[in-house]
């Protein structure tokens, strides 16, 4: 569950340029790792004119237990949901674009959003998508009986439906993350008649208006999606359908794409990527990722309440080494905030570099812990790369006299412990979100839902609140950079590294345009060369 991602964006400055020159290297890894760090988000050669027809056979890791877009919480579910459902708008590499709404206006004061729905969008059952459906969907998310994990984000505005094709949202104060929020699959517009029928949205019927229709679902075995002939874009999708199957074993997944049993392998494991890259029958994409890893310190416990102890740890870590060992170097070290330096809102210049052990020891001595101390580091046992991260951290902290005992637990056990603030150190990770507000708020703001250890810093809170209300993109980014700097210097967390993800396809799969924001809406552009 730690891999659960939201489909969100963080600007990818530099990405377009990197793609244009055919996959530039990250600079962070140094030349020795440049080959492993290559980024490729689409084919270098133009793929030609899309052809209609054929089915994609897509292998993902785990079955989606819940396909209701308003309550789903697994990445595997997001991949499927984004094919079945549309939202009001969508994000493509950080840019909000029309989806069910063909255009929209935001009032000067940022308080009134008016969306104009396209006239040709229909649910899979045949009903046209109207403003009432938009209203119903948002109210369904808010309804406590739905128990949506994201209900809180959808509060703070009133919904009006002056006519079937117009939706007006009235805010009490400006809220910059609203459009990215409405572009998520969690904000999918659903067909009320399906949602309220027995079985609801998690049955074998999809209540969406998206490019593909849920045709069959055999739990644990396959999800069959067929082309929606009435999709609002008459050209797309090009494929006749997508057959989704599941396999959690990385070895077997690699064998499946090499043998041609499937033609799209979603998120190949980094350990296999070199073999897969070398196979002439395959093409790979990726090199960017969306999982940000870090070490969380429980500031409600001694000695982590002392900022000098926290800083000693921040200076003692060698983030590059952690990345090398934990993920074979596939990713980027995080030497500042949780956002990698190429994303919108991130701190561009590193705050940490090579470990400064003398400084770390001095800080510990200042805090009265010259002889170090013993502590526990909790890590999720089923996540191999997180366990490896924790092991490297254990070694690195030993150098300044901190004796770390690893506690390997299941994700459910760690979640329960975190909620009771019952931990010393926690090897943690979360996925990047389309808008940074979500993670900044939930994980670090005072009383944030996932602010384990209850760190509280008024200056940080003020910056995040101000950024939320700031509609000027440049000013907003500057606020986030200030907030990230506070986090990095005196916050409750040592950022360590961000993953690189890879998708691998057979040679005849065309039209891939990746989006590590992350978004999975590009499957409608895929086609098979025959």
């Amino acid at each position: 569950m730690m891999h659960a991602t939201t489909r969100k964006w963080i600007g990818m400055a530099g990405l377009a340029a990197a793609v244009a020159i055919g996959g530039a290297a990250w600079t962070a890894g140094g030349p020795a790792h440049a080959a492993g760090m290559e980024i490729r988000m689409q084919d270098r050669e133009p793929a030609g004119t899309p052809q209609r027809g054929g089915r994609l056979s897509l292998l993902i890791r785990l079955d989606a237990t819940n396909l209701d877009p308003h309550t789903a919480i697994e990445t595997s579910a997001y991949v499927v949901i984004e094919q079945i459902y549309d939202s009001l708008v969508e994000s493509v590499r950080g840019e909000v674009r029309p989806a069910l709404a063909e255009r929209w206006e935001v009032s000067q004061d940022g308080l009134v959003y008016t969306f104009h729905l396209r006239g040709n969008a229909r649910f899979h059952g045949g009903r046209p998508v109207t403003s009432e459906d938009v209203k119903y969907s948002i109210e369904r998310i808010r309804n406590p009986a739905t128990a949506s994990p994201r209900a809180r984000s959808f509060e703070g505005f009133a919904i009006e439906t002056p006519d079937p094709r117009t939706v007006v949202l009235r805010l009490s104060r400006p809220h910059a993350p609203l459009l990215p929020l409405l572009s998520t699959n969690g904000a999918s517009i659903v067909d009320r008649t399906v949602a309220e029928a027995p079985g609801g949205l998690n049955g074998s019927v999809g209540g969406g208006s998206g490019p593909f229709v849920l045709a069959q679902r055999v739990v644990g075995q396959r999800i069959v999606l067929n082309r929606n002939p009435n999709y609002h874009d008459p050209e797309r999708p090009y494929l006749d359908g997508i057959d989704v199957t599941f396999n959690p074993d990385d070895n077997a997944r690699a064998a499946a794409i090499r043998s041609g049993t499937v033609n799209f392998l979603w998120r190949a494991a980094p350990e296999f990527i070199d073999t897969l890259k070398a196979d002439p029958q395959l093409k790979w994409y990726g090199g960017e990722g969306s999982l940000s890893l870090h070490l969380r310190l429980n500031v409600s416990r001694k000695p982590y309440d002392d900022v000098r102890v926290r800083q000693a740890i921040y200076h003692a870590l060698d983030r590059q080494e952690i990345l090398e060992i934990a993920n074979s170097g596939h990713g980027q070290p995080l030497n500042a905030g949780y956002l990698p330096p190429d994303r919108w809102g991130s701190v561009k210049t590193p705050i940490y570099g090579a470990p400064d052990l003398a400084k770390a020891r001095a800080l510990l001595a200042e805090a009265g812990l010259a002889n170090g101390f013993s502590t526990n580091l909790m890590v999720i046992s089923t996540s191999a790369f997180q366990v490896r991260s924790a092991e490297v951290i254990q070694q690195q902290l030993a150098k300044i006299g901190i004796r770390v005992t690893l506690r390997l637990v299941e994700a459910t056990v760690s979640n329960a412990a975190l909620r009771r603030d019952d931990f010393d150190l926690f090897q943690s990770g979360f996925s990047l979100s389309l808008d940074p507000d979500e993670r900044f708020s939930s994980a670090f703001v005072t009383d944030g839902g996932t602010n384990y250890g209850k760190w509280s810093e008024p200056e940080y809170d003020r910056l995040i609140l101000a950024a939320r209300g700031e509609t000027d993109r440049a000013k907003r980014e500057a606020l986030y950079q200030q907030a990230e700097t506070i986090l990095a210097i005196r916050g409750p967390v040592a950022m360590t590294w961000v993953s690189a993800d890879y998708d691998v396809v057979r040679r005849n799969v065309m039209g891939y345009v990746g989006d590590s924001s992350p978004s999975y809406r590009f499957y409608r552009n895929l086609w098979l060369a025959r």
Partner: protein, 315 residues
């Protein structure tokens, strides 16, 4: 014989009740519940958490939860999975045919290899065939399932491209279905065969030393009749026991092979239920598997009676 079968069936009831109570308590002893399992970084709403616990009845006292569940079970209702929100029985019945099929196929592979090899081995004791077969069985016992599976996959799926690397298809008497079954069945069958082969060899050797075998030979019976009609039949009883235990274990424990070959059976469902703390699903699964295990045990007993007339009379 019928009486014996009936008696055994009555004895099943307390077993099932005991297993139900134990499962119910044990799953709740594990730290964390389904809401903790759901509670990722995205789940930052305490109200939704409370609502989910209420929805699942986790806010009720334990005895109320147990009472509600057992009452449902007695009415044939195993409840709903917390995570998929589908009826538990549907979840199980969707996957059971695949598990049963893989189990039977693996046992078939195993028996077809093991018994003839065991007979050859025992009758040509210490000869080259025996040595070869014993080495092979040692290999079969020591190679872990997942590794053999990956090797077979590399050869037959990636290199030769004769078979798909994984997946499963709705049952049909067609290549499109059976091509998915071959690799997992052979993978599972191979290690079972090793065990069964050693058991049949040992049992047959023991029987071949018996007086009646000497008598048979002395009165001039053809060696084939001595071995297949007299010796083998008596040697099969411990073999049937082993195969029966294997069948029971396969029904609930083929997780690794299921995962490697994307075979949507019960094993991976059990793991999912445990990891996600899906109490009703896990309780239902254990109850179902126990019932089935007991039935297999009963069938093994009946097979004994068929193989050994002395047991029939005792009943």
């Amino acid at each position: 014989m019928l009486r014996l079968v009936l008696l055994r069936m009555v004895a099943v009831v307390p077993v099932l009740f005991g297993v139900s109570v134990l499962t119910f308590l044990l799953v709740r002893l594990v730290p964390g519940d389904v809401v903790d399992a759901l509670a990722t970084e995205e789940f930052d709403d305490p109200r939704a958490e409370a609502e989910l616990r209420r929805l699942f009845g986790l806010d009720q006292p334990l005895f109320v939860q147990f009472g509600t569940w057992i009452w449902g079970v007695l009415h044939g209702d195993l409840g709903y999975s917390y995570r998929s929100r589908r009826p538990v029985l549907d979840e199980i019945l969707d996957r059971f045919p695949l598990t049963l099929e893989l189990t039977l196929a693996a046992l078939l592979v195993s028996v077809v290899i093991a018994i003839p090899l065991g007979v050859l081995s025992a009758t040509r004791r210490n000869g080259p065939v025996d040595t070869g077969a014993r080495l092979l069985s040692l290999l079969g016992l020591s190679i872990p399932n997942f590794w053999l599976g990956i090797l077979l996959m590399a050869l037959f799926a990636v290199h030769l491209r004769w078979l798909p690397s994984g997946g499963s298809n709705a049952f049909a008497f067609a290549w499109d279905h059976f091509k998915f079954l071959i690799l997992p069945a052979v993978t599972l069958g191979a290690s079972l065969a090793a065990e069964t082969m050693r058991m049949s060899r040992a049992a047959l050797l023991e029987v071949l030393a018996k007086d009646y075998v000497r008598t048979g030979r002395a009165k001039g019976l053809h060696e084939r009749v001595v071995i297949y009609r007299h010796a083998l039949r008596n040697a099969l009883i411990p073999v049937v026991t082993v195969v029966g235990i294997q069948a029971g274990a396969l029904l609930g424990g083929t997780v690794v092979v299921e995962q490697i070959f994307s075979w949507a059976g019960l094993g991976s469902l059990v793991v999912r239920a445990i990891v996600q703390r899906d109490y009703p699903l896990l309780q239902g699964l254990i109850l179902f598997l126990t019932t089935f295990y007991v039935i297999v045990g009963l069938m093994v007993d009946i097979a004994y009676m068929y193989l050994d007339p002395r047991l029939r009379r005792r009943g």
